[in-house]
């Protein structure tokens, strides 16, 4: 068990500055997820923690000890790779035992640990098979098994589920979570899938172009995104955005845009009021909109024209045109809206988001 600290970490590949001034503190037993689009520097950060990539500047500490110049084998970590990286010429047993053999464990102990891990992962029937005789899910389990037999201080996962089909991915996600709860080992997990990040992470780090955008627990990222990028990246379907101008009249603050005129609720008026007369970006999550009833106040409604109706069973997604922009509203499955219908959508005033148009930071 260990804490991991990343201090002012930078990585440059020739001209490309891949990781920019990353600072993170990963608590003991924490499951931290790095998430972001491809090329955001998340895998490079993980590889630097593993010791597979040299550090341009900054430092990495595992349990208070600087490991910058330690070889990967001396960092007491285990890593699971996207393509599993199973040794094709060895049996499942030998794959799992390799790390222990290299560390000169005695035979009985190796056998005990491999059996134990195989039991946890349900792969004890395949111990004598070669990796090529296994299915994708089984290979994934062997790769996990190889990591857990070592009882390392830190687990590193590099998109371990992205080679699996959708159904198996959901199943393995749950198993990974259970496994972490059972073992309690500190884990750093890299993924580009925000659903994986939200479901697995105790805390999630959103990265973009080498910069950390926000660190927080999943609900914090969802409810209080630090900027427009995080707001758009976290949540599915993604948050709707529209450009509005903030105006103050009749003693209230209003957000006005093409086809939109919303009264900014009192609890936000202080923050948003500071931007009076300026353009800002309004953000509304699809689930914070519903078809308006007569009792809804008109100053919290948006007029929209339905373009596409997607019936998902538990909800209906309405793709609607609001002025020049297209928005998605997730509405009650009993809604009867049809294509080309003109309707009023009521927004939840407690859950409006505003972002500065220039800095993109949350207002």
């Amino acid at each position: 068990m260990a804490r991991v600290a990343i201090r002012s970490l930078n990585k440059k590949f020739d001209e490309v500055h891949a990781v920019k001034d990353v600072n993170l503190d990963i608590r003991d037993k924490e499951f931290l997820v790095l998430v972001g689009p491809s090329g955001c520097g998340k895998t490079t950060t993980l590889r630097m923690v593993a010791g597979l990539e040299s550090i341009t500047s900054g430092s990495i500490l595992i349990d208070e000890k600087i490991v910058n110049d330690l070889a990967p084998m001396d960092r007491d970590i285990a890593m699971v790779f996207q393509n599993y990286a199973l040794y094709p010429h060895m049996s499942v047993y030998d794959n799992m035992a390799f790390g222990l053999k290299m560390r000169k464990f005695d035979k009985a102990e190796i056998q005990k640990r491999v059996r134990e891990a195989a039991e946890i992962l349900g792969i004890h029937d395949y111990l004598l098979r070669k990796p090529r005789q296994l299915s994708g899910g089984q290979r994934q389990r062997v790769a996990l098994g190889r990591a857990i037999v070592r009882h390392p201080q830190v687990f590193l996962f590099d998109e371990p589920l992205s080679n699996l089909d959708a159904k198996l991915r959901v199943q393995m996600r749950v198993e990974l979570k259970k496994l972490h709860q059972r073992l309690g080992t500190t884990a750093i997990y890299v993924t580009h899938d925000q659903v994986e990040a939200m479901t697995l992470g105790d805390r999630v780090v959103v990265m973009r172009d080498g910069w950390v955008q926000q660190v927080g627990d999943p609900m914090e990222l969802y409810n209080e995104p630090a900027n427009r990028f995080v707001a758009g990246f976290i949540g599915s379907p993604a948050m709707n955005f529209a450009n509005v101008r903030i105006t103050g009249e009749n003693g209230g603050i209003w957000a006005e845009g093409d086809g939109i005129r919303l009264k900014v609720p009192a609890h936000m008026s202080n923050r948003v009021g500071g931007h009076a007369g300026k353009e800002v970006t309004l953000g509304i999550r699809p689930e914070d909109m519903r078809v308006a009833r007569d009792s809804d106040p008109a100053d919290l409604n948006i007029g929209a024209v339905v373009e596409v109706v997607e019936r998902l069973g538990s909800e209906i997604l309405l793709d609607v045109a609001v002025g020049p922009v297209t928005m998605v509203a997730s509405v009650d499955p009993t809604a009867t809206a049809k294509v080309h219908d003109k309707l009023q959508l009521a927004v939840n005033p407690q859950r409006l988001h505003f972002f500065d148009s220039e800095t993109e930071a949350a207002v």
Binding site: A71, P72, Y84, A85, F98, M102, R103, R146
Partner: protein, 283 residues
């Protein structure tokens, strides 16, 4: 497979394939027939009444016996075997490490060194033997197996390096990274993970190198002079062709016996060899 009418399969598949196989195998057949044909049939004029060029009714092993007793053929075989084996082993070891370094380690000019090695392979032997002859003379290695054991790697090492480089590149680098995280220093990751996976590649490089040195002619002709030092290709052609007299029976018997070890090596490793040519092992 060719689809459609029956005649199409004959015209585009069966007939061309048959012609190809006959063209490929006929020289071997000719070699075998000639080596077991008695002398009086071999030198019978083409317009004689009982002239049968494509078969013989009275096969004999006389030429093989003559080859083994009257000439130094068995010595040549031993020389060739020794030279081919030792130079192959030297080249494989060098090629294995050089190929690994060039494909896996990051160091300045790795790419241009790789290309440079390939270019040395392209220098024709007919040019290279002139300076090499000078070197062999200076080191007093002429007329000994060492002359060939040390010169064959000049073309075998670039060949093995290039082949192994390609093979190592096809092995995912995560395997090695995983081994290094698992606790193996680089040399152990190399010995326990990468080299075992590369066995098909190593075997193909080895078979190729062995065949190239077994069949090599120019260096063997230039650097060896006494009959008991010669290799099979040089021994057979220089000792069994006397002026304008060709001992065809013995020549063909020598060629036949000389090709057996190579054929044996190929057939023994053919499966590995094919997978070595066509690519790596996938996890």
């Amino acid at each position: 497979m060719i689809e459609g009418a029956r005649w199409r399969r004959w015209v585009f598949f069966h007939i061309p394939l048959t012609l190809f196989i006959v063209g490929l195998l006929f020289p071997f057949y000719w070699m075998i027939v000639t080596s077991v044909r008695p002398d009086n049939e071999l030198y019978r004029p083409w317009n004689a009444a009982n002239y049968t060029p494509f078969w013989t009714l009275r096969p004999t092993l006389q030429h093989v016996t003559d080859l083994l007793t009257e000439t130094l053929f068995s010595t040549w075989m031993m020389n060739t075997m020794l030279i081919a084996t030792v130079s192959t082993v030297i080249s494989l070891i060098c090629g294995l490490f050089a190929g690994y370094a060039l494909s896996r380690l990051k160091f300045p000019f790795a790419g241009s060194i790789g290309t440079g090695i390939f270019i040395t392979y392209l220098v024709p032997q007919t040019l290279l033997f002139i300076p090499l002859a000078d070197i062999i003379r200076n080191f007093h290695l002429g007329d000994s197996p060492w002359a060939l054991i040390l010169t064959y790697p000049t073309f075998l090492i670039p060949f093995c390096t290039w082949l192994m480089m390609g093979y190592f590149k096809s092995i995912p680098k995560e395997l090695e990274e995983c081994a290094r995280i698992d606790g193996a220093p680089r040399w152990k990751a190399m010995a326990y993970i990468i080299f075992p996976i590369a066995i098909p590649g190593i075997l193909s490089a080895g078979i190729f190198a062995f065949t190239l040195s077994w069949n090599e002619f120019i260096y063997a002709l230039v650097f060896l002079s006494s009959p008991e030092q010669k290799t099979v290709p040089v021994g057979v052609t220089s000792e069994l062709v006397r002026g304008d007299v060709f001992y065809w029976g013995e020549l063909m018997a020598g060629a036949l016996l000389g090709s057996i070890p190579v054929a044996f090596v190929y057939s023994f490793f053919v499966e590995h060899y094919v997978s070595g040519i066509t690519g790596s092992v996938k996890g």
